[in-house]
Symmetry: C2
Subunit: 465 residues, 2 copies
């Protein structure tokens, strides 16, 4: 409902705003250029080269770390080198959190050093060692069902194991414990919160990720242990004796300080309608533990490469292609919030696509556009059929990740759905490094984004209609 | 030559020693019992249960750590519970080494925290930070070819990547750098030695393992970085600028202290020839970083389970089955050396098999027996054919790992060759944990060891002939 209302308002504004009514260009009309772009992009490893450069020369890019600033400089310099017509940054502020060291152990009945990571935003243990018996819950719902006070002096442990699925939907079922587990545990009296990592792998590497406290509820330390360490805890607990967990955590919790962040933007200017934008997004920040190759280095590489390929055409498309590298996605879409706040109703943003999930080939195009423009999307999807991509039966995509906020603000979107089967093996771990990148898929997917951006920029279609 | 001489001596002693000349029992004669053992073992997960118990209740078992002593008590108690007729330990001493903390970084031109582990035996940096430019060598041979003095003040880095093969032979090609790289680098003037981990995985987990200094050559710190970290170093070095490495290492080097170790032994006593032994071996110690599930928890579980299954028969075999859990294998077969020193010519050890490699199904039986006894081995191998096991064309096996020292001392041996394709993904890393165990293969392989032990104990064959 809200959306339809927003759309009709935007349409009127759009008509006033675009004096050059852009003639519709069909996919058939632009086939030669699409074919040319497909050949160029398929022969290029630019997206991989950019990912290699970002992960090698910058590395981890967590908000508040040196890598965060270095990444901004890196992106600006690369966009200039790649021939973007305009390159700029939009600065804002984000909360500072620091990780510090983690020391997690089972102390009884079987002493074991555990592999654990603080969840992003967690408080620490103030230099002390916190020790308590573990109370195990299979799921977050089970923890929620615990009686008030039943966890006084205890450490709550949620053992739920994430499922592996091609579309990554196991994440949604698992991530709730990470986000709100500590607050729920504290409400029941727990002194700390421990969870099995939200991840599909079996490595001794824990998965970090953002968590949230609840106003008025005590802030307790929150960590994730690796899957094998969770197995060990489960096996120790099966023996029926009390299992004691001890934790020293150097995490800062909310510091009250903010640090500079910046969205980085670059444009390939359109010919006839330069003030209308097709938006390609990815996020430039990462967690601190890996080098952020998969999350979201490849996305950064893809969208920069796609715009570059279009910029190299003799004849640019009608509309502009804007690349938007979001800041501070990992700690709560902070860069995206700033972008929406700055750019208001996004009326000149004709459509957008983000890459922030998956490491395999795209298999589906899921649109979120007005009903009249679905025909054009169908034609474009048909062009992608030989690449193994089908059109989703739904039309409610809002954009992935950062771009979901732009989608909520009224911007049409396309979600390209890739094979994400192995994505959560690496996600938010030390293992998110360059060697994990599926290079063939990266070439393929960059080609899809290149084709999409050109199609949307050249088609003249109003995707709000 | 030496072997033949030793054999003939042993044969004469053997004849004097065994007043009951053991009548040869063919595989055909014992088929019912073999079938029964096969059914019992195939239906049992005892080897896995023992591995679970050892890795959960004891955990890492490095020489000089509490786990080392706990493992001895664990093994003695388990053998008694499992109904072994005799259980005892043979104590000796091994050199103490401690790991301490590792802090390895690239400091220029691109600062990166690296995942690294000290090699076993390495000296540390005396609380200081050691910094130098990296000089990269593709292989140990390339390092050996460096001019004397050419590495003064530098850090030598061997980038060789281990190959993955079903029989693990990539290990032999890679491990030389680990064992002697530091000594070679020091000879050329290097201040530290860094290598790509000897491992086939792509995880941010380094592989430790024993190294050796050379008398009269300066002892320099030696570490292995994980494969993704080695990739990162290679990519940084490709850019042509000096790459600076910095290291703080808390490793003790040779301490001059020794600690108690113990081989743990247990026997199922034979009926007619109790003083002749079929030896099943594995090693009880592990490195400190994982829980030693694959290396060599499953071996411990297998040989204990195999002897237990035989012990549960109504009619025991003629000879005894001796389970030997070696101490301190990882730091140089110290327990095996002690065993050979204690037990002299091993004349009453009729044949042995160790498990210290692989996590998949056994596909080959490789004997190392006298020519006359090959026929009996062939008959037994034929019994194993339906399990997918073939007889090797060679007859020179000396026993794996620890048992190679017993083989050199004259004991006949059988090597069972398993699929080791994934073995070096986990070997000597934090990832060597229970979840990595191939449970189906463990059942299968335990069955093979059960059958082998019964066959060798009941056959009456002199495997030296």
């Amino acid at each position: 409902m809200q959306r339809l209302h927003a759309l009709s308002t935007l349409l009127m504004v759009g008509l006033l705003h675009s004096p050059l009514s852009l003639a519709a260009t069909s996919v058939a009309d632009m086939r030669d250029t699409l074919d040319q772009l497909k050949a160029t992009s398929t022969a290029s490893e630019l997206a991989y080269e950019l990912t290699e450069s970002l992960t090698t020369e910058v590395g981890p890019r967590m908000v508040g770390t040196p890598g965060s600033d270095k990444a901004i400089d890196w992106a600006v310099a690369k966009m200039k080198t790649l021939g973007f017509d305009k390159v700029w940054i939009e600065e804002s502020q984000a909360d500072l959190w620091t990780r510090g060291d983690t020391n997690a152990q089972l102390t009884a009945p079987y002493p074991h050093k555990l592999v654990a990571l603080a969840l992003g935003g967690s408080v620490g243990t103030d230099g002390k060692t916190l020790t308590g018996d573990i109370v195990r819950f299979e799921t977050l719902d089970d923890l929620k069902a615990a009686a008030p006070g039943s966890l006084n002096g205890k450490i709550a442990y949620v053992a739920y194991r994430m499922e592996r699925h091609i579309d990554g939907h196991g994440y949604g079922k698992a991530v709730g414990a990470r986000v709100s587990g500590a607050a729920v545990a504290a409400e029941k009296g727990a002194i700390a919160f421990v969870m099995r990592s939200v991840g599909t792998d079996d490595n001794r590497l824990a998965h970090t990720g953002v968590m949230r406290y609840k106003d008025g509820i005590r802030k307790i330390p929150a960590v994730a242990v690796s899957n094998p360490d969770a197995d060990l805890m489960d096996n120790a607990l099966k023996r029926g004796q009390p299992v004691t967990f001890s934790l020293q955590l150097g995490a800062s919790g909310p510091t009250g300080k903010t640090v500079r962040i910046a969205n980085v933007l670059g444009e390939i200017t359109g010919t006839t309608n330069p003030d209308e934008f097709v938006l390609l997004g990815a996020h430039l920040d990462s967690w601190d533990v890996g080098t952020g190759a998969i999350d979201d280095g490849i996305g950064v590489g893809m969208v920069m490469a796609a715009a570059h390929h279009i910029g190299q055409l003799k004849q640019r498309p009608a509309r502009s292609v804007r690349v938007l590298l979001f800041a501070a996605e990992e700690i709560g879409l902070i860069g995206a919030k700033d972008y929406v706040a700055r750019h208001g109703d996004l009326k000149n943003h004709v459509i957008g696509a983000e890459w922030d999930f998956g490491n395999g080939n795209i298999y589906e195009l899921a649109p979120g556009v007005g009903p009249s423009s679905l025909n054009a999307i169908r034609d474009f999807a048909a062009y992608l059929t030989p690449m193994g991509i089908s059109l989703a039966s739904t039309n409610d995509a809002k954009g992935q990740s950062d771009m979901s906020l732009l989608g909520e603000a009224g911007m049409p979107a396309v979600n390209f759905e890739p094979d994400g089967s192995d994505y959560f093996d690496y996600h938010h771990t030390e293992n998110d490094t360059l060697d994990k990148v599926n290079r063939e898929a990266l070439v393929n997917n960059t080609t899809v984004y290149t084709l999409f951006a050109y199609f949307a920029a050249q088609s003249g279609v109003d995707f709000r209609q």
